[in-house]
Amino acid sequence: MSKPRLLEQKFLDYKTSTGFWLYLMTDCVLFASLFATYIVLHPATAGGPTSGEIFSLPMALTETIILLTSSFTCGLALLALRQNNLKQLVIWLAVTYVLGVSFLTIELSEFAALVGDGHSWQQSAFLSGFFTLVGTHGFHIFIGLLWLLVMVAVLFKKGITLKVKRQLGLFGLFWHFLDLVWVFIFTVVYLMGVAS
């Protein structure tokens, strides 16, 4: 089979990135639904703790800084990709991965602490909304990390191919999108939650 021509590759890039943008928009609507539900259920604490009583801003801020930094390193990885610098690319992807894992670890330890104190998702509608909204974001991060691992494995096996380039570009979009969603979670859930 002959190699696809450059023009066809460009067209494929265009199609996949258009499709991926649309997918991100659908994810946006998914998060919007969860946000709306969280906001409506926020006062429904059913005798359990309110958001002001259980959220810790320093922890959320740490998570925010880690995730924003991982977005920056993801950007550096894409710059290295553009220069076809395999070594730098893998290093920055590894840094992104480590930051992503630490973010998830902090989030899960926060969840574990809450559950340990008896404030699980079963305690009130507010906590159901909280765990689901933040957990869905965390699940997306988990999927992103899985994707990252597969990409690095492919890079080691095949080097920088057009296909890898395309998929890493999409990964970058995905990762920045999750960052953006987190900024909203930080604002709506944590900052406004502590204030109320």
Binding site: P4, K15, T18, L22, T26, S33, V40, W121, S128, T132
Partner: protein
């Protein structure tokens, strides 16, 4: 080990057992026939693993047709109970079974008949209409189809293993919560819809990208056929509405499986939040169904009137207006929630506003017919029937958009009559018109006209008889979903009329089945060329049967009705065709594999067999990773092969 699953899950009452045996025998007969005629390999290589949207489209239509028969059988049981037995001490259908049947009827008709037919027609027509060879993501398209099939399998499995939801087609909480529906019924409902819904979502993305990026050179947005515009509106709605469904179903299933309190009636849960969310998806869903039907009629009316479409631009604007407005009216499904006079007034007015672009479309179709040479072939009859029934439905809709009136008829049979009026008289008539109109393009022969007309008249008369009495019953106070009522109310006469109407509809279905069978039998006499209706759009310009690659060459488009101008204007020359090698996707079993695993995931979660669900989920993740990394996914059709195919199909030299 096996979660909640035990021998108790097998059906107990005679009606369900009969249904299971009937369905099982039909399935066995199919398997036996395939084995006897040694067609398994043919089925697998030519159909199940195919990534050709034409074949995927046909498979969607086959599934939708089978589901239509199931949905009609459910409808027959409901009507029989209400017409014959319900006045008095109830009939052979227990209240519990009756609730399962109407829940299944609604769910199946919307998700597996209407959505299936919709995606079938879109798969068949959109690539041809925009003059392209394929959809943007062929493998994703196959996965979407198999997720749809997986949802269909799960909902039918509920008949044989366990029970189906008794909470209606939208499963309102708190009734659908664990406290009031502890069985597996609602879980079947959730996972069947969740899986099929994700398939629809992926299809939505796929077709939007297809239309945005793969149009024939020269085909600007304002030169696209109106059907394609209607699909743009429809898929935009899919993309923006289905994630809400995904989120809502997830939250309901979290309530039922891990004990969250989103929609429960205790611990701060808010059932009205569910009802808001489900209708924020559900109202756009109604337009997802009807927009392509509008598109179909916008193609059929000009062809059978021998005139170009009246008011193309206003048609596009109307479609886009409906697309946008359909997100602003969801609250009209529950004016009685008590959101207050101002909120109700806002949503009431927005609902009435939607009638304006819809009216624009009706007038455009009628003005297209005006002074045209109208030919009353079967597709045109469906259109005429549609205009009448759809207008009645639209008027009753505007009536119910007045919150004060809605308080009176809310959840009555008046509402049931209204939405059947829109969905049968609008969507289903549209799909039948599409089927008759495009049938010869894909098979090379026409459907028999006489039988088609007989089917049409049965459907139209049967429909009016079956649903107009429900308007009256609704006014008289009959609530929807009644399995029995007091004989002294005097409703039985009208229910009997409605039952007779259903029988006439079934006669129409019988005529349609005969029509297809007879036409296949007489296919040589009914054979037609590539362009039997003197069509206007690009699909008629290629050969019949259509080659795998649709078009041998992608010549540029200059006019809106390019093919028509080429045929009928002496100053428009047919462009020179340039043949180049064509890439087509290779067959793959990935879609079928993911579909199978999706059924297992759903089954595992429904019955709390967690290891099974987890294993199948991991399996499907692995399949997705392997499939995305696979390199050698395309096959090249060389110039010689194209020339040979074209010679065979068109009988001309290229």
């Amino acid at each position: 080990m096996w979660g909640r699953l035990s021998l108790d899950a097998l059906p107990h009452d005679m009606i369900t057992i009969g249904g299971v045996i009937g369905g099982g025998l039909a399935l066995l007969a199919g398997i036996a026939a395939l084995t006897y005629f040694k067609k398994w390999r043919w089925l697998w290589t030519n159909w199940l693993t195919s990534l050709d949207p034409k074949k995927i489209g046909v498979m969607y239509l086959v599934v939708a047709t089978i589901m239509l028969l199931r949905g009609l059988a459910d409808a027959g049981m409901l009507r029989a109970q209400q017409a014959v037995f319900a006045a008095g001490d109830g009939g052979p259908i227990s209240p519990d079974l009756f609730q399962q049947v109407f829940s299944a009827h609604g769910t199946i008709m919307i998700f597996f008949v209407a959505m299936g037919a919709l995606f079938g027609i879109v798969n068949l027509i959109v690539p041809l209409h925009i003059g392209s060879r394929d959809v943007a993501f062929p493998l994703l398209n196959s996965i979407s189809f198999w997720l749809f099939v997986a949802g269909m399998v799960l909902i039918n499995l509920a008949l044989a293993v366990g029970e189906f939801s008794t909470a209606g087609w939208l499963a309102y909480p708190p009734l659908s919560e664990l406290q009031y529906s502890p069985g597996t019924g609602v879980d079947y409902w959730i996972w069947s819809l969740q899986i099929a819904g994700i398939g629809s979502l992926l299809s939505g993305i796929n077709f939007l990208v297809t239309i945005f990026t793969m149009r024939r050179p020269g085909m600007s947005f304002m030169k696209m056929p109106i059907f394609v515009w209607s699909v743009v509106g429809c898929m935009a709605l899919v993309v923006f509405a289905f994630p809400i469904l995904t989120a809502t179903l997830s939250m309901l299933s979290l309530d039922r499986t891990i004990g969250t309190h989103f929609f429960t009636s205790d611990m701060g849960g808010n059932p009205m939040m569910y009802i808001n969310l489900i209708w924020a998806w559900g109202h756009p869903e109604v337009y997802i169904l009807i927009l392509p039907a509008f598109g179909v009629f916008s193609e059929i009316v000009p062809v059978f009137s021998k005139k170009r479409l009246f008011g193309y631009t206003s048609m596009v604007l109307a479609l886009m207006a409906i697309t946008f407005l359909s997100f602003t009216v969801w609250l009209h499904h529950f004016f009685t929630m008590g959101a207050g006079a101002n909120v109700n007034a806002f949503f009431g007015i927005m609902t009435m506003v939607i009638a304006i672009p819809t009216g624009v479309k009706v007038f455009n179709w009628i003005f297209t017919m005006y002074r045209g040479r109208v030919k009353f072939a079967t597709p045109m009859l469906w259109f005429m029937g549609f205009v009448v029934t759809f207008t009645i439905g639209g008027l009753t809709g505007v009536l119910m958009a007045v919150p004060g009136i809605d308080f009176q008829v809310h959840n009555s049979l008046f509402l049931v009559a209204h939405f059947h009026n829109m969905i049968i008289g609008g969507v289903i008539f549209g799909f039948f018109a599409a089927l008759t109109y495009w049938w010869p393009k894909f098979t090379g022969f026409r459907l028999h006209e006489g039988l088609g007309k007989a089917a049409f008249w049965c459907w139209l008369i049967g429909f009016l008889l079956a649903f107009l009495p429900l308007y009256a019953l609704g006014f008289m106070g009959a609530a929807r979903r009644l399995d029995s009522y007091d004989a002294s109310l005097g409703w039985q006469g009208l229910f009997i009329v409605a039952g007779v109407g259903l029988l006439i509809i079934l006669l129409g279905v019988f005529f349609q089945v005969v029509q297809v069978g007879y036409s296949i039998w007489k296919r040589r006499e009914l054979a037609v060329g590539a362009d039997p209706w003197d069509g206007r759009t690009l699909e008629w310009s290629t050969s019949t049967p259509i080659a795998e690659y649709n078009f041998a060459s992608l010549t540029p488009v200059i006019y809106r009705d390019e093919f028509w101008e080429q045929k009928h204007r002496s100053d428009v020359k047919k462009p020179v065709e340039l043949i180049e090698p064509i890439r087509v996707p290779k067959n793959t079993g990935v879609g079928a594999g993911i579909g199978l695993l999706a059924v297992i995931v759903g089954f595992g979660v429904i019955w709390h067999i967690w290891w099974l669900a987890l294993a199948a989920l991991l399996g499907s993740i692995v399949i997705v990773i392997v499939a995305t990394l696979k390199e050698d996914t395309e096959r090249i059709i060389g110039v010689d092969e194209i020339v040979a195919t074209e010679k065979k199909l068109r009988g001309v030299k290229v």
